[in-house]
C-alpha cells in the first residue's frame, strides 16, 4: 500500500465522506486513488477557497447531528494551496475544526523553487492550529489521526497536512503496522482540561446567587459543545437573561422570554444596556472580542465576570475575570445546573429594567419592518428577513455572508432550530456564504438551507454556482442587491460625511447568470412580490436564486462605533455625523 492509500483509509476511518477540492500536479495521485477506492463523494469547488468553506459547512452543521463529521479540503501545491489560505484563516478565527490536505512538490526538489512550489507550511503556520509535513509514507496514517485529534480536541481549529508527491506515491515499508487503538500521539504539550475544578464552580455559584443583575453570555463554545439545552436550563433555573455572540445564535430559541438577542456592535439595545448595567457576566465559550466589548476600559465596569472557556489563553486576555473556569462548556453547565446550591431568584426589578430596554427601539423597528421601504422606495432587508422568518416559522438553516444583510439575518430571523446559523464571524470573510451553504446542505439534507448574500459578497464566490449545478444541491440562494458594499457604505454615512468612496457597485444580470447555470431565478422589487417568491422557493425542490432589490439607505441599528463604548450606541436615524470612525 502507498502513502496516498494510507491517507485515504485514515480519512475513511475518521468518518469522512465528502472531500472538497481541486486537483493539480502534486495532488493528482491522491485523486486517482480516491477514484479507484470509490468511498468518498468528491465535490469539486470552482476555486479552492470554495472548498475550504464547504468543508467548514460540513464541520459546523454536522456537529449537532448524530453523525458529526470533520470537513476535509484538498488542493494541489503552490497556487492551489495558496487559494486555501482565506478559508483556513477564517476557520482558525472561528475555531472550526477542519483538515486541509495539500500536495507538495517531491522531496528531491523541495527548496529549489520548483514548479508550483511554495512554502505551504510556512504560510499556514500562523493560521492553523497545527501543520504537518510527513516525509515518509509510513508516517502518513499516524499523522492524519493526530491531525484529527488536534483539530477536534479542546478549542477546535484547522490543521494542515502538506505531503510531498513522492511520499504520497511511496510504498509503506514491509513491516508497516498501524493500529488506531494503540495510537498515542506524542503531544506532551497538548493540555486539555474538560472537567471544571470544584473551587471556581463553587465561587461562581456564590456570585450567581448573590447577584442582582446578572447576564448570561452564550458564545460559540455553547454551540460547539451542544450545550444549548443546558444553558437554557441554567437561565430558566436562576432567572437570568441571555445575550448571544454572533456565533452563539441559535443555541437557544431566539424568542425565548429570557433571550436578549445578540450583543455587541450591532447587538440589540436590551442586550447592550443590560450588559452595561449588569453586576455579573456569566460567559460561556466566548472570547470578548472587540466587536462584542467596544472600548475595553468602559466595558461592564460594575460587573464581576465568570468566564467559562476551554482555551486558557482566552481567560483574562481582554477582560479581567473574577472567576475563571478553564473547562468544557457542556461539562461546566452540567455541573452548574445540577448543583443544589444554585438558587432561583426572581430578580423582578432587573427584568422590569430589561423590559424598559426592550422598548427603546421596538416601535421604530416595528414601523420600519411594517413599512418595508427605504428612502429610495426600495425594499428593506429587515422586512424581507422578517417575512422569511415568519414563512418558515424560524425553523430553517440560515447561512449569511458578511455585511449589512448578515446583521439583518442575525437580528430578524427567529431561530428555532438548534445550530441553524452558520456565519463567518471572526474573520468576516465576504463570499463565505454560498460555498458554506453547500457543505451545510450535504450534512443536513432534510432541512432547508438559505444562503443569504449581498451583491458584493455573492460576486466573490459565485463561481460555486457551478458546484450547485453539478451536484444538484438544493440551496435557496438569496441576494440582497442594494447596489453597494452596504456595510462599508453605512460607515461612510455615519463617519465619513456620506462620501461613498469605493462602495457603489454594478451587478451583472443575475437572471442571465442563473439561467447560464440552469438555476431558476426570481427578481423581487415590490413588497407584494416578497411572499410569493419565498413561497416558490419553499415549494421548489432544488436550488433557486431570489434577487431582492434593496434600498441602499437602510442601516442596521443600533450600532456601537468601532472603538466606542456602549454609551456611544447609535439608535436613531438620522444619524449624527461623527468623525474619527475607523475600521
Amino acid at each position: 500500500m502507498t502513502g496516498k492509500e494510507r491517507l485515504l483509509r485514515a480519512l475513511e476511518k475518521r468518518g469522512v465522506r465528502h472531500i472538497f477540492g481541486y486537483t493539480g500536479g502534486a495532488i493528482m495521485p491522491v485523486f486517482d486513488s480516491m477514484d479507484k477506492l470509490g468511498i468518498f463523494k468528491f465535490v469539486m469547488s470552482r476555486h479552492e477557497q470554495g472548498a475550504t468553506f464547504m468543508a467548514q459547512g460540513v464541520s459546523r452543521a454536522s456537529l449537532s447531528t448524530d453523525d458529526p463529521q470533520i470537513g476535509v479540503c484538498m488542493a494541489t501545491s503552490g497556487p492551489g494551496a495558496m487559494n486555501l489560505t482565506t478559508g483556513i484563516a477564517d476557520a482558525h478565527m472561528d475555531s472550526v475544526p477542519m483538515i486541509a490536505v495539500t500536495g507538495q512538490v517531491a522531496t528531491g526538489v523541495i527548496a529549489t523553487d520548483a514548479f508550483q512550489e511554495s512554502d505551504v507550511v510556512g504560510v499556514m503556520m500562523p493560521i492553523c492550529k497545527q501543520t504537518y509535513m510527513p516525509l515518509e509514507a509510513d508516517e502518513i496514517e499516524k499523522t492524519v489521526h493526530e491531525a484529527f485529534y488536534v483539530a477536534t480536541t479542546g478549542r477546535p481549529g484547522p490543521v494542515l497536512l502538506d505531503i510531498p508527491k513522492d511520499v504520497l506515491n511511496q510504498q509503506v515499508s514491509k513491516d508497516y503496522k498501524f493500529s488506531l487503538e494503540n495510537l498515542r500521539p506524542n503531544l506532551p504539550g497538548f493540555f486539555y482540561h474538560p472537567t471544571p475544578a470544584r473551587a471556581p464552580v463553587k465561587k461562581a455559584i456564590e456570585l450567581i446567587n448573590r447577584s442582582e443583575r446578572p447576564v448570561i453570555f452564550c458564545g460559540h463554545g455553547v454551540i460547539g459543545s451542544n450545550a444549548g439545552k443546558l444553558l437554557q436550563a441554567l437561565a430558566e433555573k436562576a432567572k437570568i437573561p441571555v445575550a448571544f455572540t454572533l456565533h452563539g445564535l441559535s443555541a437557544m430559541q431566539a424568542d425565548h422570554p429570557l433571550s436578549l438577542g445578540m450583543m455587541g456592535m450591532h447587538g440589540t439595545v436590551e442586550a447592550n444596556r443590560a450588559i452595561s448595567e449588569a453586576d455579573l457576566l456569566i460567559s460561556f465559550g466566548m472570547r470578548f472580542d472587540d466587536r462584542v466589548t467596544g472600548k475595553l476600559n468602559e466595558y461592564a465596569q460594575n460587573a464581576d465576570v465568570i468566564h467559562v472557556e476551554i482555551d486558557p489563553s482566552e481567560i483574562d486576555k481582554n477582560v479581567a475575570t473574577t472567576v475563571a473556569i478553564n473547562a468544557d462548556v457542556y461539562r461546566t453547565l452540567h455541573v452548574l445546573v445540577g448543583d443544589p446550591m444554585l438558587t432561583a431568584k426572581p430578580r423582578r426589578r432587573w427584568h422590569a429594567r430589561i423590559d424598559e430596554f426592550r422598548q427603546v427601539m421596538a416601535d421604530d423597528l416595528r414601523k420600519e419592518i411594517k413599512g418595508g421601504l427605504g428612502d429610495e422606495g426600495k425594499l428593506l432587508m429587515k422586512t424581507i428577513v422578517s417575512q422569511l422568518s415568519d414563512m418558515t416559522q424560524g425553523q430553517d438553516i440560515v447561512v449569511p455572508d458578511v455585511g449589512q444583510h448578515q446583521m439583518m439575518a442575525a437580528r430578524f430571523y427567529n431561530y428555532q432550530t438548534p445550530n441553524s446559523w452558520f456565519a463567518s464571524g471572526g474573520a468576516g470573510t465576504m463570499g463565505a456564504s454560498l460555498p458554506m451553504a453547500i457543505g451545510v446542505k450535504l450534512v443536513r439534507p432534510d432541512e432547508r438551507v438559505w444562503s443569504i448574500s449581498g451583491d458584493g459578497g455573492f460576486q466573490m464566490n459565485m463561481q460555486e454556482l457551478g458546484t450547485i449545478m453539478e451536484h444538484k444541491i438544493d440551496v435557496k440562494i438569496v441576494i440582497f442587491n442594494n447596489g453597494y458594499l452596504g456595510m462599508v457604505r453605512q460607515w461612510q454615512t455615519l463617519f465619513f460625511d456620506g462620501r461613498y468612496a469605493g462602495t457603489p457597485m454594478l451587478s451583472p444580470d443575475y437572471g442571465q447568470i442563473a439561467s447560464a447555470y440552469g438555476i431558476p431565478y426570481r427578481k423581487i422589487e415590490t413588497l407584494d412580490q416578497i411572499a410569493p417568491a419565498i413561497q416558490e422557493a419553499i415549494d421548489l425542490e432544488g436550488a433557486i436564486i431570489l434577487e431582492f432589490i434593496c434600498d441602499p439607505s437602510e442601516v442596521i441599528l443600533p450600532m456601537i462605533p468601532a472603538g466606542g463604548g456602549f454609551d456611544d450606541m447609535i439608535i436613531k436615524r438620522p444619524m449624527p455625523q461623527k468623525k474619527g470612525g475607523k475600521k
Partner: protein
C-alpha cells in the same frame, strides 16, 4: 520597563522556533534575548526568553500563548530574585596590554588569544549587567567584534 525571563520546555521539532518567533512578532513583545539548548531529556529543548514588559497580564499572555503550541510542554516566568541569569560574551578588542591588565583584575575574564601586541580575544561571563558594565568601561571604540550568547537562566 521591567525585565522578565520566561523558561519553556519544548519538543525539538522543526518549525517550533519559527512558531515562537512568529508569536513574538504577532503579539509585538519586546524580546531582548532568546536562547535554546538541549535539555536533560533527549528530544526536548530548553528555551529562555528575556523581554521587557511592565504589564503582568501581557506576560501571562506570552506564557498562555506559548503553552498553546502543542510542542510546548511547559512555560513559566522565572522570578528575578529566585533565579540566576547569566550570559557570556566573546570580544575581540584592540587595547594596550596595561589597560587590559587593569580591566582583567576588575572583571576576571579569560584571555583566549593575543593576536598581536594590542589585539586580544577575551571571554567574559556573568550577569547581563556585569557584561554591560564591562563593555561601557572598555569603550565601544576598543571593540572590534563582540558576540554575546543571550541569557541563560536557572532557578535557585
Amino acid at each position: 520597563m521591567k525585565r522578565r525571563a520566561i523558561l519553556a520546555y519544548l519538543l525539538d521539532h522543526p518549525g517550533v522556533l519559527q512558531k515562537v518567533s512568529m508569536l513574538i512578532r504577532k503579539k509585538m513583545y519586546n524580546v531582548d534575548t532568546l536562547t535554546v539548548c538541549k535539555s536533560r531529556k533527549p528530544g526536548i529543548s530548553r528555551m529562555t526568553i528575556t523581554l521587557r514588559e511592565d504589564d503582568e497580564a501581557r506576560v501571562s499572555q506570552v506564557i498562555h500563548q506559548l503553552e498553546k503550541f502543542t510542542e510546548v510542554i511547559s512555560a513559566k516566568e522565572l522570578d528575578t530574585d529566585h533565579s540566576y541569569w547569566r550570559e557570556a560574551a566573546i570580544i575581540k578588542l584592540e587595547i594596550d596590554s596595561t589597560q587590559l591588565e587593569a580591566l582583567h583584575s576588575e572583571y576576571k575574564f579569560e584571555i583566549l588569544d593575543h593576536k598581536n601586541h594590542d589585539t586580544h580575544i577575551i571571554q567574559i561571563a556573568g550577569s547581563t549587567r556585569k557584561i554591560d558594565a564591562f563593555v561601557a568601561q572598555l569603550g565601544e571604540e576598543h571593540i572590534i567584534e563582540i558576540s554575546r550568547t543571550g541569557v541563560a537562566a536557572l532557578e535557585k
